[in-house]
Structure formats: C-alpha cells, structure tokens
Symmetry: C2
Subunit: 443 residues, 2 copies
Amino acid sequence: MRIVVIGGVAGGMSAAAKAKRTNKNAEIIVFEKGRFVSYGACGIPYFLSGEIESYESLIVRKPEDFERAGIKVNLNAEVKEIDVKNFNLTVEINGANEKVGFDSLIIATGASSKRLPVEGRDLEGVFTLKSLDDGIAIKDYIKRASVKRVGIVGAGFIGLELIEAFVKQGLEVVSVDIVSSPPPQFDEDMVDFVKEKVEEYKVKTYWGAGIDRIEGADKVEAMVIEGERVPVDMVIFSVGVSPNSEIAKNAGLELSVAGSIKVDERMQTSVDNIYAAGDCTHSYSAVTGKPVYLPLGSLANRHGRVAGTNAAGRLAFMKPIAGTSIVKFFDIGLARTGLTETEAKREGFDVDSVVIKAYDKAHYYPGAGKIKVKLVWNRKDGALLGAQLSGPYMSVKRIDVISSLIIKKASVEDLKAVDLAYSPPFSPVWDPLSIAANQAVKD
Amino acid sequence: MRIVVIGGVAGGMSAAAKAKRTNKNAEIIVFEKGRFVSYGACGIPYFLSGEIESYESLIVRKPEDFERAGIKVNLNAEVKEIDVKNFNLTVEINGANEKVGFDSLIIATGASSKRLPVEGRDLEGVFTLKSLDDGIAIKDYIKRASVKRVGIVGAGFIGLELIEAFVKQGLEVVSVDIVSSPPPQFDEDMVDFVKEKVEEYKVKTYWGAGIDRIEGADKVEAMVIEGERVPVDMVIFSVGVSPNSEIAKNAGLELSVAGSIKVDERMQTSVDNIYAAGDCTHSYSAVTGKPVYLPLGSLANRHGRVAGTNAAGRLAFMKPIAGTSIVKFFDIGLARTGLTETEAKREGFDVDSVVIKAYDKAHYYPGAGKIKVKLVWNRKDGALLGAQLSGPYMSVKRIDVISSLIIKKASVEDLKAVDLAYSPPFSPVWDPLSIAANQAVKD
C-alpha cells in the first residue's frame, strides 16, 4: 500500500507520521516543493524579533528523522497534476517530470499569502510571510538593505506579531489596516488594549485607511496611504491567505468555503481515498455546523492526524471545532473562540452579549492587571456562541474554558456553574469568566 | 423581613451583599466575632512573604461600605446559641448577651485550624493560620521574637505557601509532613517538581515523618521529629481545618461530611429558612454526586451568593462542583480537579489514567518549561473523573478546561476534540491537555 502526501509542513508531516504509525507496512512518500519540512511556521515572527536566534530551532523533525521512521521525503519536489481517475500524480523533481501512483493521497498544499492589488506590490523590498523561506528572506533583506522603517499592511494576528517583532528589532514601524480597530477577527469593543500598546511603542498607525500604492525607483522607498507619502524601506503584506487548492480543483475535486478543498468529517475529499489536511482545506464549526476556513497550525496538525489515520486504513474523525485562536502582542494577549457578536448576528442568531473588565489575579497580588471578557450567547436557550478575551497575555489562555464548553453545547448557566481554580496568584476569588457568566445570567 | 448572617468573611459577606441586592427592603444584620470583615484570607501568605506590604490591601470592603449599602455589621459579636424553634439567637456584644430574632438565618461561621495533639502545642510561638488576626500575630511574632528558624507542620496547599513566604523573608524553614510526597491532595506521581523546589531553596524537609513534640522553656525552642531535636524559633500548624459547626449542631441542625453543616442544593440546612455558606458547610461533587468538604474561598463566595439569594426570597442553586484547587509554590504551580486516581479507586470507579510531560509553550519559545498532566477517567465510558497538573505556575490554570468538562459530564474523547488555543507563547501546537487526551484515547 502506497500513501502519497503532497506538502511537508504541519498538515502533511503529521499526516505522514500518523499514517506510518497506523500502518507500519504502508509505503509513505512526501513531496515538498520547498527545502524545509516539519517546521513551526507560527514561530517565524519570534525568529524575526530575535527572540529565537536560529531558524533551525523552528524545525521539529528533519527529513533524516522521517526517513529513519520509514517515510520517504522529497524536497524541492513540486506536484503539478493529480490524476484522480488513475490514482497517480505528476511531480517535478530536479527539472524532470515523474509519474507516481498511489493507493491513498493526502493533499496538504497549504495556503499562500495575499498581496493587495496595488501599484508597486512587486517592487524589491515587498514581502509576504508564510513559509520559513519567507522569514529567512525578510531577515536577510533587513540586514542587506539596512532597513530602518518597515511598513506592515494588515493588522491581523500575524500583522500584530510582526509589529512587535520589528519594534523589538529597533525598527520604526508603520501599520496600515482598512479596519479602524484591528485586529478584524475581534469585535470593536474588545481591542482597546491594542491601541494602548501601539501608542506605548510609538508605532505609526494608519488604521481605517487604505494603501494607495508603493513607491520606489528599483526598490521600496515609500507607501502612499490615503494620499500621504510615508517613507519606508520595506513593506510586508499580511492581509490573509488563500488555500492552495488549484491543483485539487484542476483534478476535479470539489471546493468549499473560501476556495478550500471540500472534505467530510474524515478529511476525505469528494473522491474516495483522497484526503486533504491543513491550510488548503476547512474544518466544521461546532457553533454553526457549517464548514469554516481557519488556516491555523493547531488545526493543520489535527487534520493531518485524522487524514493520516484514515488514509492508512483505520477510522478517525475530525470533530467540529469551536474555532479558537490566540495572539500575543507585547505584554497583552487576545483570544477568541466560537463567533464574535458581529459574526453571530450575521449567522442569524438571536444574540445577547456581555462585556466585563476585571482583574486577572487577586487585586492585591503583585502584577495583577485588567482582563476584558466578552461572552456571546443565544438569547433563546443561553447556548454559548463565542467569547473574546483581551488582557495580560497569559491570562487570555482561559479562552480554552469556553472552547471546551462550546464543544459540549454548553450554556452561560453552565459556565456560571464551573468552579474555576482560585488562588491569589492565578485569579480573583471570582474568575473573570465567572464574573461574566454571573452578569450574563443576571441572577 | 430580617436576615441575620453569622460570620463576616467570604461566605457571610457575599451572602449579606447578595441578600441585600436581591431584596432591597430586607433588614440585613451581620455578626462577626473578630475585628475584620470581608477580607481575602487566601492572600495572607503573601502578606507574610512581604509581597503584599499592608494587610489592609487584603480587605475588600470595610464595615462602612456595607453600612452604606444598608447592611448592619457588628464586629466583636459572637453568636452563642441559635434557637431554631423560635427563630432567634443569642449574641454576645461588649460582654453582654442579646437576643435577636430573624426571618432567615445564614450560618457562615467558617472553620478552625487543627493542631496535632502533641506536647508543647500551646507554647508561646506556636501558631495556626486561618484568620487575618492569625496572620498579623505571626508577622508580629517573627519581628518581636527575632525568629530565624520556623517549623511548618503540614505541607498541604497552605503549608507550601508558608514555606515560600518564609523563604522569601530570609528565614530558615523546616517542613514536616507525615506524607512522604506532599501535598497530600495529589497522587504521588504528580509532585516531583515540589521536591525539586524544596531542594533548590534549601528547605529542610522531614517528609514521611511525624512530629513527636515541641520543646521550649516558656516559648518554642525546638521540634522533636522522629527522635531528632530540630531547633526552631516558631512552629506553625498547617494540618487542615475543621468546620465551625458546633453552634449548628447544638441547635439541632443536621451535620454532614467531615462534621460540616448539612445543606441541600439551595444551601438550606435541615431547617427551613436557615442556610449555611462557606467553610462551615459542604458542596456536592459533580463526579460522585456525594457531599464533599472543600473549605475554599472561591466556593465560600459561591455558597454565599446562593444562600443570600434564597434567604432573601428568590430561588438559586449551588450546582455540583468539579472540586478545583490550585496553588503556587515558588515558580511552579499545582492544580487539581475532580478526583485523584487514589480517590477515584477508593470511590469504586473502574479507573484508567495517563501521565504525560510536555512543554507548556512551543519548545523554541523563550521560557518554555515542562508541565506534567495526569488524566483520570472511567474505563467503562471514558468519563473524565479528574485531572492534576504541575509545572510553570501560570501553565496549570488550564485545569479549568477539565473542570468545565467535568461539569458537563464529558469524556476523554471530548477533551481530545477541543481545539485549544495555540500560538508559540501560549502552548505547543498540541496543548499538553490534548497530548494527554490523545494518549488516553489511544487513537
């Protein structure tokens, strides 16, 4: 039995490893178009900030490690075509095309960063950040071009991490986002701490503003934002990603939300024995039941595990997800799960919500800070639809409580009933989540 | 309508405040035998360590604040007797006994620290720690008697906090506990980090050893432990507490587990319109359904809120609890919820368990440390029975995920399905809880 995996980062390599563990006798072949496999892409901002010295720390397992486990890894090997009728694919290795047959296939082609369609977007000094190679190229360019001022287009999760990284590198940072209260993944009433931080660190922000064009003779010299010329030496687009699903689409596989490869709960595509995993595909939301496109490393690993198990002949399911994400921005954190109030209304729920601000530790405990909690629930039955947290960074990991409750279809009444851990260094006697639940229930 | 509250700390004052908010017209009278009300008793160790300079920071609301809210607070007022037939009580104020009638009564008499029945237990320099007055007396004695060496009997949660507090004060600390791997609230395989810390901070430990007696001419000079004379200038017993339920028992109210005042889900005692809250009473376990005695500040506040609501004429329920507790010991934390493996076996469950050790953040993120996770579940249906965590201190607050799942009768399969928040500063791509769940499910 031969299982082929296209793509060697999070989804692909966890699929390959899990397939091998599931079926020791299966032949596993991975094709990765880049020169690295199995790295923690989410760690790249910390490599740019200098908090991680070498990009090699980000590499979890090397090709040799996989080879030792009986997994054949081909680098610089780009799959050009999938033939779903004859179960083979065409791959370009060292400039030559090869045909490779398979019994099961796992597509883990990832996603590509978008660039806004503005003039100058392809000038030298304009980057996006998705792969480890992107990260290395950015760090290299900063040095080579003596970059002093960097423009970051987009202030979502990665955008914020890049702001922090470059501030820590001593660069002047200009942030542009069309949204006036980024990150856009949050309700507007939850992001005031973000504004405080950009002021504190003297980041020049153009929020609620569009970029007109990028200017420069042969390399980046300035961004023009709403008519104002803002000199920068480098520009990074961080305005989201699109799934790399073209190869699947060309093969006749069905697509789903945001152009991602359509899969069922087994991560199987519209063709039997062909699976997808990671940023090229989608998950299902536990709140809406609908497919949801969330390109996150944690989900890619989950997808891979499920796809790998099924591809190797055992049964596994990717259960619906709460949809949890988290980001650190200097000393604050932002976290969300489920739907925001805006999203829940858009989905047609009869939405109720509450926002509270409370200490994250006992008020008298050294270092206590304020955390903001927003709960969103269904007015009809109290079912939790989502939550957002912002505050001292470690404090927002408590989002996981809400994620767990959402998975169990719990209500704000249920949250109120949970005896959350209390001791002064960890929480006030009423945990902020309990305070929010008490207010939601209005008892 | 008159509501009387006996006891003015966590359970009592939250009951009084909630009763007033529930029924603005009710007359609320509090009798507190000490000189303080409404303080964070759990903060006392941090007052002893010097991390909190003044004990006044621990006081949440002063008697004047309650008076302004329409709640009458009597300090140094000890209730001597409750007459449950005629609905009145006898209280000693300024040396004189007074009779006070009530329509509803809330008993929040708290608990008292135990002393082991050894010779010398009443010598000058022997203390227990429960009330703010205890804390003030200990701090005062350290100064007055120039204490250099302190013996702490018991290495449970408070015992550990006291070890840390006195080490931070530059004192030599001797810790004794009959258990060889304290704290006794944990399975033995979960406490290795505790042993590392006492070694690191050169705490002299006699664990798995009993104290024979305390010696001294007119004040403490030494503890004798298993025949060895260990010089100390002060001894603190930290060997647990007993509920102050004598007054309730004398009045004919039924008692429950560990001698606590028996209550139903409304926190009502065996007599209608008489309630109990806090360390003098019990909760119900969501795992076993049985009453459980857990004298914790967080539960006291929950009890008080429910008792106060019911006493004031509206309906509220204290739902069964997971049984969550947490403690910081230097830079590590220990947390538990539900049952330990030992407890679960004792309860007759068909127990399965797993222990894993993993990074608490991405392995490459600065400051990442190892966290240990133990899951305990019912082999029959996978239902979570409990969990224990130990590791870098903020990392163990994730115990709340398991508490929430226990409240919802969830299984290890459910835990496996939760998409826990991932970003390198917060967690590895597989959160330690997910790693444990994956191992538990053996998929």
